[in-house]
Symmetry: D2
Subunit: 458 residues, 4 copies
């Protein structure tokens, strides 16, 4: 139904954010979940949903739209309960139906379940096929429905056992919140590809894709759920279980580059600090003889500041962002096509005129926005534009929950760095190396960096 | 979310209407279905949906609201296909979620299915339980989901066999349209409780709950689908199959009394004519010494005219209906409570003043509206009000798809005729006998009249 | 913005309904006005508005849509006041903006005014021109704005004097409610072309276009406001004033034929009774040798019953109306054009097959619906169709607030009765004469019947 | 109707933005205006409107909501014309009705006018009273209606003369766009309090509150409209006229501090650069012994960078903004009150822990947000927080179009700097002096700085 185009179209898209909290009735848990999802809104702007457990039943509301559009005061009052979980979703247009909004709420032999999932199963098609062979019907196109079917079939009275068995079946990336009428369960895949963390406020445990949601609701981050871990929160407190088989630490490195909110902490590392270090490393690898460092706001700013600090070249703001740019606007006619970027960003001419400019962005996907920005700078009088990217070229599709464009549209997969430099009309172009990136993000962890390296954890 | 009350609150509620058509792409089948549902709107005003099959896939749109609110031109254009089916639904508030809107569209091992169901399974809870025991999850509270699961599990490659086997499992009332990517299937339960008829226009077969939808789209009624019959419409034309076991003709007699549109034909009988005959029989059983016959519009008019013809007492219009009364309006405050009926109906004082009035209604459920109408007539100067009802007292709940109020609110279940007369403040009260009703509706058929007799077909 | 067509497109359109009530805060006057407008909804379905006076201020809410769509409980609570007035409006598409919705609320030197107007000034263009010459600006295209300007300019401290002087300036048809912070004023033009009546409930005076609104809110009709009368309702009760110059009784006769609700009383005459008498006169003037009399529901029914009574030919229902037909629906594609009428009306074949049918309608405007109905009857097996119209041919445009089509689309203005009969494919056609109509409506009053006679009162 | 609170509640509110363009039909001028308003959205988020002149007529559409919500493709297509103007509006809740949305479109003796106004007349009440004495009615509460009345009354055939005479009557702040069917007129008050600038693209002249809108649509800034200047754009090109009497250059200095977009140029000065210089001056006046400089994003960032450059203390990002914070969200319950700021901003703990922090904001209005931010920093481990404000204390209300809170809520009007420091719990607090601010903004111009100095230009 949208007749507009998104202004963020030259970035990779995260697919979901999840949040859950265990407490007691009267705690306003739906409201807490609302604020938690509000803080996770950057992980999905297409639909939002909240489910609550009360008196052995699960009630929910979900709809297309931003968290602030989907819920109002009356709805949150009605969603009073003793456990709550929620979900924000981004999806490709094809599946953009309310039927696919989450949490998915189902009834089965042992009661009701709500599921909220971030990630992507690589064997979903296979599992669907298997289930279908056994007569299962599917009403949605989301993996949650596959997982719900598996849990339901494996649950012979012990939901925890059923979830553990399900973890043995499903392969891929998943950060999963499962709510029964009595328990809040958090699960992370054995490679820990998608993030999930544990927080606490006034003795109430919470789960969230990112710790920034804990800060927003006044809770404290305890720790990340570990790869292959299942935490079970109920009246007895918190219990922890682990999946069979090998477990590794392959958190998606793009969470550090672009997806995660800079104020979140993942794997013990603050995202903002990682980005700043990436900027510093970027300078070491690709120095530039320039007068100023600017960023493509907002995602490139931390790295630009890091680059500036390492290089001693002053960081200045060279591009201004229209802070009212929404998800959609009316598409310019053909001859106004250039308005697309101009609606979002404008040059501060006085800052760049006559200057040799280093412009730092976090990534280049299609390259069209990059070229428009270089042109805008040159038109404003920049004498040189040295484009620096705080991550390696994206060359491979993601199978773990990130919406990567078709290979033909992935500029890094089709052209050399020099060719890309030429296409975006920059005077020089430098990408941070994978090593430089890993070093910036830190420590001995293995990350999933398949989109750069093609080295898939699964 | 509604803050109003419905003005039809003193009538039984039908639960659904279904429509389907087989043709080819470019025929505008979604549009035909839209008009068909428009004609069936009286069978359900809560939600509406249309599904179409195109190129092996099934697409659909469904939403809360009237047919004219749910669809617009753009949606109908997008729903181009070679087969289409649709559904209108009424439900109690508790289940009034879009998740329960129909058609239900599912994927399973042999492709996709859309199901549109009118009726109620009496063994749905049992079947759900059985399926749940086998690990099935349920996302809705509608019987269609039970049926879809059964069909999917029984379909080993022959959908027709699967539907037949399903008919052997499910018990209760069902008029069912099942659409695959290649076929349109119509099914009616072995007792034929809910109606379903077959029509044709320009060689295209259609299915509809009522024949009035055929008239609206310019098609011709061929015949009713028979009790226990499954018709299969595809590129080879129409085939017919029958359920195993006994079949009977127990069409819900309330379709003739209130639910069906007067211009529909069911069981070969025109509904309007039946109502008129019921009015004539009502006079024979309960004559009245009166000056005029009036009806409670619109549902009592045909019987009132029949009463008038049989009695020779002139039929006049004594009550005027506000034709803009919608589904909801703002609830009057306590001291304005009487406005409820007045918003809908007003007396023509000049017609009733000084008169002895026979007022004919099709049924009395709670009795509150009846009492208000008697009062209105008396206030307008009617000297006597003889209430006549063209059906017997409703004394038993319906288990086959009609929403009957709790027994305590069913005036006919709790009071004698004389007590009801007293409550509604009429000078006399007469209900048509079951025999008189059956005679009016016609021929040797057995109907389901369990709401009057307690004699349930199943 | 509407993408549909109205199903009532072959009827003349009333342009407005007004309602007002004087009481005290806490009486729920906005709510009373809401129900009053609900009862007047047939007079205008495009926009609705309510204004209330409280503490010397006037607040209001108005919007496009039906009364039940424009207001909700919260709005009515906020519109608490000691005087209230409201308006429902129909208009041609061109002026269908919320800016033209009424009541019009303005501030001027002596306070605030709300105006609700039904009718049309014939010298509005002239008065606008004059006012513009004096420097007045206009923000709307409604006559109310002209009237408000005149009242404001003439009000030197005595609003009543100002209204009286305004009545001396404006010419045409007007039933007007003016509300100040302290008074409710009702005004009717000296020819009394548009209706306005006075009612009372629990000592509170009310004004309404039609008495049916009084019945709905439990009030009693006192009398019509007289032609040229201004009634002033305030803390001192009710005062009455009269315009200078001649006054006549030229109530629009079409109120009796089609616009007015049958349960309303105008000029002391019940509308339904007038229609019935018109039907009887129609038989006297145009008898028919036929088996049954049917009506085009709902507007032709009273006359059809009158025709039946006078002729002894039994009245039966031959056409069934879809009671869910709304204001708009999706337009059929070219080859489905015939669906237009079929969506609204269907034939009861059993009633008309083999019969010689008299079909009675209240008027013929364009003739297209009439022809479709005759065809539907013939297709259903009627052997003869004798069309009878309970009013004369509409041959002249209305300048007093009724939306008549262009002369070229007015079938009565362009063809003889025989030609029209031929166009609509009826076996015979008879229109009621003007004399017969006047006799039916009653007494010695002069009506405005310019649309039939060309004899304009002004 | 909003049930949320705005997250920007601790900032002053601009009241409007205006845009206009002269061209020819087919140029897509409504679309250009749409993009222009999109760029001016920060000046008003309550309502938006566009009017176009075509064939001697003026058409318009306006509604409550953001530009992207008010318009869609269909509307912009319908608003094709040869001249266009538009408006975005912020207002206090009391007047937040669509009736007050602009442009105001009126008809008067010499045709039609559309007016879009930014500013506030100080003699509006007086002028209204005068006009009312002459019989004028008012339908809105906006000054545009006063201006439209004056222009209409003074226009004896020469609209330019009428506008000039109007300028002699009205006193206060106004940047005004007036569109007739043939001309686009831009007017700025003789003190030049509110900004208005002239741009050009492909020979088409444009008017805009800020030059950033020119950049967005690909146009070039020519110059500011001068104080007291009226520019008239029509088929003959551009003509310029000046008001009688003294003219001064008293542009609102708050445009440089907060209202204006950083990429706009006003009075020949880039706003971003001014803010940076203000930050540098702020250091000179209020140095701090600290480890890092952070800003309150986004409005404090430019000054923070200036402070950093001048001081040599490194600028880092210490606060992260949730970029999905919308205009409204559901209000936290009492005990969650602290969530308000946390929803919008979060601390980067790693950046501030153990640090002595200089936090720079552009202004302090109520002080509540400031205190919450200081607390957040301290909780995150900042050892000292030195609050610096890049403008003087706001001590006086604005009468020229800015919504200042009541004096009792204006922290700068009621407390000394030391008291404020204590209230916001900062270790030190320094406001930029008026001299320092003026020096930063630049040159010999006189600004309006009445909110700081009480020295009103009028």
């Amino acid at each position: 139904m949208y007749n507009g185009l998104t202004v963020e179209s030259d970035k990779l898209k995260e697919e979901c954010g999840v949040f859950g909290v265990y407490g007691k009735e009267g705690d306003g848990l739906a409201r807490t979940t609302y604020y938690g999802l509000y803080a996770l809104q950057h992980r999905g702007q297409e639909s939002a949903g909240i489910a609550v457990a009360r008196d052995g039943k699960i009630m929910h509301h979900k709809q297309m739209g931003l968290v602030s559009e989907v819920f109002d005061d009356v709805l949150l009052e009605e969603l009073e309960g003793s456990i709550a979980c929620g979900h924000v979703r981004y999806s490709t247009v094809g599946d953009s139906h309310v039927i696919n909004a989450q949490p998915l709420v189902v009834k089965y032999r042992n009661g009701s379940l709500a599921l909220a999932h971030n990630g992507n199963l690589v064997n979903a098609v296979h599992l669907r096929g298997q289930l279908e062979q056994e007569g299962v019907i599917f009403q949605t196109s989301v993996d949650s429905e596959v997982i719900a079917n598996l849990v339901a079939r494996k649950d012979k009275g012990d939901i925890l056992e059923a979830v553990k068995e399900t973890m043995n079946c499903i392969r891929g990336a998943y950060a999963l919140i499962i709510m029964t009428s009595a328990r809040l369960i958090g699960v992370r895949d054995p490679n820990g590809i998608r993030p999930l963390s544990l927080g606490i406020k006034d003795g109430r445990y919470m789960l969230s894709s990112e710790s920034c949601a804990f800060d927003t609701v006044g809770a404290k981050l305890i720790r990340d759920i570990e790869p292959g871990e299942m935490v079970v929160i109920d009246g007895d407190g918190l219990q922890s279980f682990y999946s069979d088989g090998p477990r590794a630490n392959r958190l998606c490195v793009f969470e550090f580059i672009y997806f995660g909110r800079p104020d979140s902490v993942m794997g013990g590392k603050n995202i903002y600090m990682s980005r700043r270090r990436a900027g510093a490393n970027l300078f070491k690898e690709h120095p530039a003889d320039a007068d100023i460092v600017i960023s493509v706001p907002d995602s490139g700013t931390a790295a630009a500041i890091g680059y500036s600090e390492a290089s001693g070249i002053p960081f200045v703001e060279g591009l201004v962002k229209n802070r009212y740019v929404g998800r959609t606007f009316i598409q310019p006619k053909q001859r106004q096509r250039e308005i697309g970027v101009a609606l979002k960003l404008n040059v501060l001419e006085d800052m760049v005129k006559g200057k040799r400019v280093v412009m730092v962005d976090d990534s280049i996907i299609r390259g069209t926005t990059s070229r428009n920005l270089v042109r805008m700078l040159k038109n404003a009088g920049a004498v040189e534009v040295h484009f620096r990217v705080s991550s390696p070229p994206v060359q491979h599709p993601c199978y773990f929950g990130i919406d990567t464009p078709d290979r033909e549209n992935l500029v890094g997969a089709n052209f050399t760095v020099e060719e890309i430099r030429d296409k975006i009309e920059a005077d020089s172009l430098g990408y941070l190396s994978l090593e430089g990136l890993i070093e910036a993000v830190g420590d001995c962890r293995e990350y999933c960096h398949a989109c750069f390296s093609g080295n898939y954890p699964i």
